[in-house]
């Protein structure tokens, strides 16, 4: 395991060979505009100050790093700390990025934002930010996801956003992104695409990572305070990979810290039954480097380069591509990636509810399931930080069907 300085991406938006910018020509100008606006904002201390204030007063940062006493005792192995992103306003880490980009949009002078959403958490966060900043907001969501995350559809509409159902492909996150990109390419002058994960063309993976890295920065200070040392293991679920990179980033130079990304193993290892892009070592088939929705990364696809459909009980992990920085971290061996099944995730959600009084989002439950699976092989004094990316209210329908 090697430590690497987080010197990525390079000027072309590359993380090693991954990343880049693969878009219709019409989108090059707005991407360059966004890159310039973001560089200017980063250089302006008033931008960070304003964002910090919003994160604190509106979103509720810092989030606690809570010692999970009963869970740790139950597993009889590692000391588990939970980073409570579920306590944020709107109920998931997605608000960190939505506030950051929302503030950027007001500086760019655009009055309309477009977003995609899978689980609905990014859609709710974006709708919230739009309401707060007085922007109009259109959210694209696959009709399959609208069905299984109905509560969030209602929340977005209550917040004044227009929610547009997408009925193509697998009617999930990938298809919502296609439709959001089509809207953006048509309305480039007036609209900003507020992408919700470390996906898409450069500079999105960098911008979203930068707005999420506060998770790891806080956790690093909090664990030092609580335990007087670095953690041994970080663990987070990976849809596009924003909550995971948000936790990992501050620890990248710490060679002793092991990082584990957990993907959706769905209901089987054959292509179409899962959303495991980097966990091929566990037998999941169909992932190869390719280009999807603006970036070069590991993509679930068939032999001819057609993108595969995916399955997960968790809408937020149900996507055939993965953030390019994760592809690079996997290739470097700096982070490892595995997958847990639908059933394991649901079981983990129940366990956390009963032992800690926290109902996690099904996405976050995937990370927890991996902790449970590994605990017997971990040392008693091993320090684990689990990123609890969101709360489970949105998943009551699904959970009630299983429980």
């Amino acid at each position: 395991m090697s430590a690497i300085a987080p010197m990525v991406p390079d000027a072309r938006g590359r993380y090693g060979r991954y990343g880049g910018r693969y878009v219709p020509e019409t989108l090059m100008a707005p991407l360059e505009e966004l890159e310039r606006a973001y560089a200017a904002a980063r250089a302006d201390s008033s931008f960070q100050a304003e964002l910090d204030s919003l994160l604190h007063n509106f979103a509720g940062r810092p989030t606690p790093l809570q010692f999970a006493e009963r869970l740790s005792a139950y597993l009889g192995g590692p000391r588990i700390y939970i980073k409570r992103e579920d306590l944020l306003h709107t109920g998931a880490h997605k608000i960190n990025n939505a506030l950051g980009q929302g503030l950027l949009v007001t500086r760019m002078g655009k009055k309309r934002i477009i977003a995609e959403t899978g689980a609905g958490q990014h859609g709710v966060a974006t709708a919230t930010v739009a309401a707060k900043f007085g922007l109009t907001c259109t959210v694209y969501m696959g009709t399959e996801d609208m069905e299984r995350q109905r509560l969030n559809v209602f929340r977005m509409r209550l917040l004044g956003a227009e929610v547009v159902g997408v009925d193509s492909g697998s009617r999930t996150l990938k298809d919502a992104i296609n439709e959001a990109m089509r809207d953006w390419v048509t309305n480039v002058e007036s609209s900003h695409y507020l992408l919700g994960s470390v996906l898409g063309a450069h500079p999105y993976p960098q911008i979203v990572r930068d707005f999420q890295k506060v998770i790891g920065e806080e956790a690093r200070a909090q664990i030092a305070q609580a335990e007087g040392r670095l953690p041994d293991t970080l663990i987070a679920c990976v849809g596009g990979g924003s909550n995971a990179i948000g936790l990992f980033h501050a620890f990248l130079p710490d060679a002793s810290v092991r990082m584990i990304g957990v993907e959706a193993g769905g209901r089987g290892t054959t292509l179409g039954e899962h959303a495991a892009r980097l966990a091929a070592a566990s037998g999941f088939s169909g992932a190869r480097p390719g280009v999807l929705q603006g970036t070069y990364t590991y993509v679930l696809q068939n032999f001819d380069g057609q993108i595969a459909t995916t399955h997960s009980v968790s809408a937020g992990l149900d996507y055939p591509g993965v953030g390019p920085e994760h592809a690079w971290l996997a290739e470097q061996g700096r982070a490892e990636y595995c997958a847990v099944s639908d059933a394991e995730a649901v079981e983990a959600a129940r366990t956390l509810a009963r032992l800690e009084g926290i109902i996690p989002a099904l996405e976050s439950a995937h990370a927890l399931a991996e902790v449970i699976r590994r605990a017997p092989r971990m040392k008693k004094d091993e320090l684990v930080i689990l990123n609890l990316s969101g709360r489970g209210d949105k998943d009551m329908d699904i959970l009630s069907r299983y429980v």
Binding site: R12, P24, E25, A29, N178, V188, L292, Q293, D304, G305
Partner: protein, 291 residues
């Protein structure tokens, strides 16, 4: 004299006169605007596409763009999305489309451009793709979601096999980008009429002539204009300012409606005859205005 000869020779080396260049030269000599027809390959089958393409060429299409269907066509509107969907359901692959090029080439000299998203090309392998496409008789390639910045190896592979590299220029492209796009393109420059996805529209944007004039400053290549062109009046508007009009969704809407391959081929051919006739009169009207 010898200097002239050298210049002429190097010009030839840079731009081998392929079918596309020859067709545009012939159009210029005849004082006609060209018509480029986009057809999604494999909708509803590759055998049907073969008939439709031959009928389109027969009816006066100057260049055919064969659309390679893709699962996630982000640059396309509903009509071509549905066409791609049907083509994928009929089992169409990039290899199958290249084989279709070979069959069309056996019966026609119409210039053929492969119009694809990048991932299928990347998965086949750039070199393997370029060699196969050239051997089958394709003349050029346009990859919708491949910008210049990411196209270095792609251009080298295509050029090595004598294929034209056609890039898109958009209303949002800066002058600096237009210059680079012009320099990297061969065959023709494809100017997108408006920011947006493919699909039929009522009217062309008012600032389109200015965009075409701006693009002209940076290239001597013929300029084809596409996105939103379906009616003879659209083509007439382009008369004298563009070298060709591209029609796509309007043709695929005919294919979608048709009850049989023969009906689809006939309907596409009729559309092309009408548009091509507007392309001819459009230019002559401009010439008479100019004189």
């Amino acid at each position: 004299m010898s200097e002239n000869f050298a210049t002429w020779q190097s010009a030839l080396a840079v731009q081998p006169a392929g079918r596309i260049a020859r067709r545009f030269r012939a159009l210029a000599e005849a004082g006609e605007m060209g018509l480029v027809a986009y057809i999604t390959a494999g909708d509803p089958s590759l055998a049907a596409t073969e008939k439709i393409v031959l009928a389109a060429a027969e009816a006066g299409a100057d260049v055919i763009e064969l659309g390679v269907p893709f699962s996630d066509p982000v640059a396309d509107g509903p009509t071509i999305q549905r066409a791609s969907d049907r083509a994928l359901r009929s089992g169409t692959t990039l290899a199958g489309v290249i084989e279709l090029v070979r069959r069309i080439r056996a019966n026609s000299e119409v210039p053929l451009v492969l119009f694809s998203y990048f991932n299928p090309i990347l998965q086949m392998g750039l070199e393997k793709f370029a060699a196969a496409a050239a051997a089958a008789g394709a003349d050029g390639v346009l990859a919708t979601d491949l910008t210049l910045e990411e196209a270095v190896e792609y251009r080298a592979a295509l050029q090595a096999h004598g294929l034209d590299t056609i890039f898109l220029a958009a209303p949002t492209s800066t002058d600096a980008r237009l210059a680079q796009i012009g320099a990297a393109s061969s065959g023709f420059l494809y100017v997108i009429s408006r920011a947006g996805v493919t699909g039929e529209r009522e009217a062309l944007p008012a600032d389109l002539p200015a965009l075409i004039r701006r693009a002209r400053k940076f290239t001597s290549l013929p300029i084809a204009v596409g996105f939103g062109i379906s009616l003879p009046t659209h083509v007439t508007v382009l008369g004298g300012i563009a070298d060709a009009a591209v029609v796509g969704s309007a043709l695929m809407a005919e294919v979608e409606k048709a009850a049989s391959t023969d009906e689809a081929a006939a309907a596409v051919a009729e559309r092309i005859r009408v548009l091509k006739s507007a392309a001819r009169t459009g230019v002559s009207r401009r010439s008479s205005e100019a004189s």
